[in-house]
Amino acid sequence: MTTRSVSILDGHLRVGLAGFSLDIELAIAKGQVVALLGPNGAGKTTALRALAGLRPLSAGHIRLAGQTLDEPARNLFVPVEKRPVGVVFQDYLLFPHLSTLDNVAFGPRRRGTPKTQARQQAAAWLQRMGLADFAGRKPRQLSGGQAQRVALARALAVNPQLLLLDEPLAALDAKTRIDTRAELHRHLHDHDGATLIVTHDPLDAMMLADHLVVIEDGRIVQQGDAATITAQPRTDYIARLVGLNLFQGISTGTTVALPGGFALTTAQALTGHVFAAFPPAAVSLHTSRPDGSPRNTWQATITGIHRHGDNLRIQLDGPITAAADITPAAAAHLNLSPGQQIWAAVKATETRAYPA
């Protein structure tokens, strides 16, 4: 997958459920952080549970550091408690009856470390997480951000070859989230095993991971680094996540013919099936047909107006469905309202095409 080093995790996860099947291939190198990104119901949690051993595969295989953890065809299955895998659960699941220290020492103890030594290791982990003063507290006395760090310390304390995080920041409020994300980033990059983050939040995925794997309906739809995925989305889901208008068509030179008959002029000359994308901020709106520099223009109907940051996002229907971001001043000047007919324009230089 990458040129960094040989993959420590090699997985082909196939799980069949009633009305849903998961079939993804996953490889993670030592020290690499991969994010599994997808909408709810895409199969992210199923994949995580299969890797942890909480759900057996129907077919395929999971190999970690040379050891086969699950391979139905060869009737191999290593149970959860024997896998060198650490899990940070979405709502942390810190044991409510144990102190913070004993929560972190739980893993080492169960894996045979003597009590004193396990507690020393746990104390060292808490120290690293900046939680040395909270060792004696019960989980219910911790804030969300602190509980998240204790859960991370607990998972890392067993020295896992593979660290799994299920929506690690979803339970936090917006402010805590930013601080915790930065800190999590630091700890994940200190971890020398493989790391997989399951999330539906593109920002978490892009900030925390080196490599993104996007899944929809149990299949991988795109993977790559954050820059590639944000610049060249390949599905509507990713396009929406990264905020781009995305179209698929057939390119001849710099003209992309879209299925509805509309043609977009793009900056790149390509031939064959392509994606064409432009950001909503590149769309300008006019009351009459604009002319001038080479651009794409079309007559559109406004179907919705929403706040989007400091701007307004205008949903447009017409020969193509697109979103436009304009300033409130411009909107007031144009006197926009839903149902209104308007001219939309995008410069060809702002329209990128890339092979499908």
Partner: protein
């Protein structure tokens, strides 16, 4: 922004003038409730009213009473321990595993609840009696006799009281979040370690509640005990048996015994309730 088309919520309404939170309690509910309460409390009140307070201290010092009380507390506690030893794993099996016939097993567990205790005692005799299915073997192989012994009392009480414990603990296990057990497994805990280190502490309040119910039921056990263990003072005569016996000869003694049984069980239950049942 368009107005929500529901009439509630969005439009601020002026605070209503404060008055009684709700209108009167309907008589149709209040009257049966009061009668029900009286029905439960009056017999206890009658017991206290008719107690021969003047001669109470003298009667309390009679040796038979303390013997019966001691035996009752001892056998009820032993029966509860026996129920916990076997009932908690049984509850775990019912709550956490899936095996064919689990519904049937759960139904069987509740049978002693609906079985008349005397019938339970007869059934115990047929199995553990000296000529019973297991009893004959126990006697032949080890010389152990259960019926008409103190051990028989414990057995009879445990038989009748165990469903209370199993049902309470199974409910607690089902209410506990099983994902904590998954978390323990990912940290390397075997199923046994998960059970002792995570599951048990999490459901401890439920087990305590079940044990208290179980103990109270065992303390009051009469029918199965008198059938299976008989009524021998000092050996199998527990307080309920002593009360029944006294009723035939000395009404005053029966009242005193009943009062003691009532006082002891209420005191112990109240003490345990404060210590164990109160939520953390």
């Amino acid at each position: 922004m368009s107005q929500p088309d529901t009439s509630s919520g969005a439009v601020p309404t002026p605070a209503r003038p404060r008055r009684h939170a709700r209108s009167r309690i309907p008589l149709a509910l209040l009257l049966p409730a009061v009668i029900g309460l009286a029905f439960l409390v009056l017999p206890l009140a009658g017991l206290i009213i008719r107690t021969p307070w003047a001669t109470l201290s003298q009667r309390l010092s009679e040796p038979g009473i303390l013997t019966a009380l001691g035996l009752s507390l001892q056998t009820a506690t032993l029966a509860t321990l026996l129920c916990m030893l076997f009932g908690v794993p049984l509850a775990w099996l019912l709550a956490r595993t899936d095996f064919p016939g689990r519904r049937l097993v759960r139904a069987l567990v509740t049978v002693p609840l609906v079985l008349p205790p005397v019938v339970g005692g007869v059934a115990l005799l047929l199995v553990f009696g000296r000529r019973g299915l297991i009893g004959s073997w126990l006697y032949a192989a080890f010389g152990i006799t259960l019926p008409f012994t103190t051990a028989g009392v414990v057995l009879a009480e445990a038989f009748v009281a165990m469903p209370f414990l199993v049902i309470a603990v199974e409910g607690a296990l089902r209410g506990a979040d099983a994902r904590y057990e998954e978390a323990a497994a990912t940290l390397g805990a075997t199923r046994w370690a998960t059970f002792t280190r995570v599951t048990l502490p999490l459901v401890a309040p439920g087990i305590a509640a079940g044990a208290v119910l179980c103990w109270a039921r065992a303390l009051g056990e009469f029918g199965a005990t008198i059938t299976f263990a008989g009524n021998f003072p000092g050996r199998t005569q527990t307080m309920p048996l002593a009360v029944y016996l006294a009723l035939e000869t000395d009404m005053q003694a029966a009242i005193v015994l009943s009062l003691i049984l009532l006082a002891v069980s209420v005191t112990i239950l109240a003490a345990l309730r404060d210590k164990w049942i109160a939520s953390p």
